[in-house]
Amino acid sequence: MNKNVPIIELKELSKKYNEYGLLVNALDGVSLKIFPGEFVSIVGPSGSGKSTLLHCMGLLDRPSSGILYIDGKDTTKISGKEIALFRGEKLGFVFQSYNLIPRLTVLENVILPGLIMRKEQKILEKKAKILLKEVGIIHRINHKGIHLSGGEQQKVAIARALINDPVVILADEPTGALDSESSREIMGLLVKMNDKKNVTSVFVSHDMNIARYGKRTVALKDGKIVGDTKGDLKNLNKVLKNLVKSKR
């Protein structure tokens, strides 16, 4: 994979909602390039459009205008059926509330995206065990999702996100429902996976301390990018300052 060719590229991406008859610009001409292997945090206050941006990047929502390339493909031009397939093959998701299926075991939860992609169950199970070992939850493999703690559930969710070898992992407030210790553990795990597997990761957080885990931070305000460290951590304080300033 060419490190200089963006894995995700947004060109003038906009998303408008009609809420109670009022037109809301959730994203307003956002242009952004994310390169392979990057670990990007998107920060911004509530309502800044960071979740909408993540949903658009995850093809869970369609932008109102603009172009979105993922892995070289213009996703705004692909049909609904293809989008589902594309999402399953190329993207991995980690949600704030883990979204494990409570009645399924840890193993079953992890292999679920693979089964949806019609992959062979035995191969999936083998791979899931490796992933569960990597995230440190192999000892709970046969436990039901509902019996795990928040941190444990999120670890399972990370393993699940990786089962289909995605090109990008998208995490929406991955520590939003966790205590500080679990948060640190999960963020550490995401960093580790990014380092080890070199999988591009984008996560959204409203917590500046969590955002600092990103090797690159993009700040969003009113649907616009107001700061981007562009991989240089020296810029982080400046970006965050900008964000705080614009908050006022």
Binding site: H55, G58, L60, D61, G80, K81, A84, L85, F86, R87, G88, E89, L91, F93, F95, Q96, S97, N99, I101, R103, L104, E108, L112, P113, L115, I116, M117, R160, N164
Partner: protein
């Protein structure tokens, strides 16, 4: 197993309590359907067996005869043989035979016995369509045999008395006791009649007074000997319908070339006694028609109407009564009403079950929106989500149908094992039985499956159409 079926099974397991109740309600509805249907089939079979002894699939009578006349007072069909030939020529696979009929009275003048009536069906033991029906139902004695004394070679001794004033002419004939060596006519009677009449039993000889002309006061008293008792399953009809050889009745009713001398006695009337007769087998009172078996018996009543119409097209100048007409005549439209009510109650119950399934699934979908959103995020296409809920409906319906069939089979087995029977007319017991046909099994399986699939399809469609982001967002809200 596909991901949809794994998740569908999981959902069923998660909601096993409510789904078990729904499955049981549907299963019990299907049990009731199966039992009522099988019992109706059995009763239909019982009544059908007896009814068809008289009418078969259709009965052709003179245009001035009515349905009541099928009990033995039809007007004569002089060209009955021609009608038979026409039916068999124009309607391939249809069989037609001539019946000669009469109404009889017995017990007259017997000490300690009530006078009773019966309808005598004169059958051709070799050709009559219902022959196997009668022959197989003999419970004591035997069926007609070739060396039975069917014919005397002469008519009974008749006297015709001119009716004075407005009174009709009166004809009375007798064949009994005037010639000492006369053998009685063989007759097969209903077993239920033998139970209540001591003189009616195998080997017993007694006299019957027959009404030999339906629209005239014309009677003949003849001697009969009981050679067999039959039981069709409907004792009332057995007591009523007896069988003689058609030729015996032709002889008694003078259906043939009668020769011999008449004596006129002034002031009394005309004696036409023991006239030699060559019976004419083309003459009869009714032509009964047997139609080929229908391909399916989903609508036997509709088929009866169809047969009637077919026959009507061949003999438009005569009156046709279908087996169903006769069934309604003897049983009223009770059978039809029960069938309609049965279907009505089943449809209402199933509709309610369908509504319950839809309601339960709607509420599940509302609670599982986030799960649906996650599945979509993992690449699940609409049809995968659709199938999760559709399979639940399919499984519920299938299990309910199977259980319904199983429950009904158990009940039927227990009833048969116990030998349940109900009190019937003439001191007889009517056994409670069941006849299951493949069609009702198919209905008991297909109906709940279609219903629950249909009920599940609506919420399934709704779930599958949820956009992933909307589902995830709604899920967050419902937390």
């Amino acid at each position: 197993m596909g991901v949809s079926s794994i998740l569908a099974l999981g959902e069923l397991k998660d909601h096993k309590r409510i789904y078990t109740i729904i499955v049981l309600v549907i299963a019990l509805t299907m049990t009731s359907f199966m039992l009522e249907n099988a019992y109706l089939n059995y009763m239909m079979q019982v009544v059908d067996d007896t009814t068809k002894l008289v009418t078969s699939d259709a009965a052709i009578v003179d245009k001035n005869s009515n349905i009541r006349d099928l009990y033995g007072t039809e007007l004569e069909l002089k060209n009955a043989g021609e009608i038979v030939r026409r039916i068999e020529k124009n309607l391939p696979n249809y069989k037609a035979t001539i019946r000669v009929t009469a109404q009889g009275t017995y017990g007259l003048g017997t000490v300690g016995e009530v006078v009773d009536g019966c309808t005598i069906q004169g059958i051709d033991p070799k050709k009559d369509n219902s022959i196997s029906g009668i022959a197989n139902k003999i419970v004591k004695g035997r069926f007609f045999e070739d060396d039975d004394p069917i014919l005397r070679g002469h008519t009974p001794l008749y006297i015709e008395i001119k009716g004075p004033g407005n009174l009709p002419d009166f004809t009375y004939g007798t064949g009994e006791k005037l010639l000492g060596d006369e053998k009685p006519y063989p007759i097969i009677v209903g077993a239920s009649a033998a139970k209540i009449h001591p003189s009616v039993d195998i080997g017993k000889t007694f006299s019957i007074t027959l009404s030999v002309s339906s629209r005239e006061t014309s009677y003949a008293s003849i001697m009969v000997k009981v050679i067999g008792l039959y039981e069709s399953g409907t004792p009332t009809l057995d007591a009523l319908i007896w069988f003689m050889h058609a030729d015996s009745l032709r002889e008694i009713k003078r259906y043939g070339e009668v020769t011999g001398k008449d004596w006129y006695i002034p002031g009394i009337g005309t004696f036409r006694g023991y006239n030699p007769i060559v019976i004419d087998r083309n003459r009869g009172d009714v032509v009964i028609v047997n139609a080929p078996e229908p391909i399916h018996s989903l609508n036997p009543l509709g088929y009866a109407d169809y047969v009637k119409e077919e026959v009507k097209n061949v003999v438009p100048f005569l009156k046709i009564y279908s087996w169903h007409d006769f069934l309604i005549y003897i049983a009223g439209s009770m059978q039809d009403v029960i069938t309609i009510m049965l279907w009505g109650s089943i449809i209402v119950t199933l509709f309610l079950c369908g509504a319950a399934i839809k309601y339960v699934m709607d509420s599940i979908i509302m609670r599982k929106t986030r799960e649906i959103g996650s599945l979509k995020a993992f690449g699940a296409r609409d049809r995968i989500v659709f199938r999760i809920f559709l399979y639940q409906g399919l499984i519920i319906g299938f299990i309910a149908g199977l259980l319904g069939i199983l429950f009904s089979l158990i009940v039927m087995y227990l009833v048969n094992w116990y030998g349940l029977s109900v009190e019937f007319i003439s001191g007889t017991q009517l056994k409670v039985g069941f006849i299951i046909n493949w069609l009702s099994i198919l209905i008991a399986l297909v109906l709940p499956v279609s219903l629950s699939v249909l009920a599940a399809a609506l919420p399934a469609k709704k779930a599958s159409r949820l956009s992933p982001v909307e589902a995830l967002r709604k899920g967050e809200l419902s937390l």
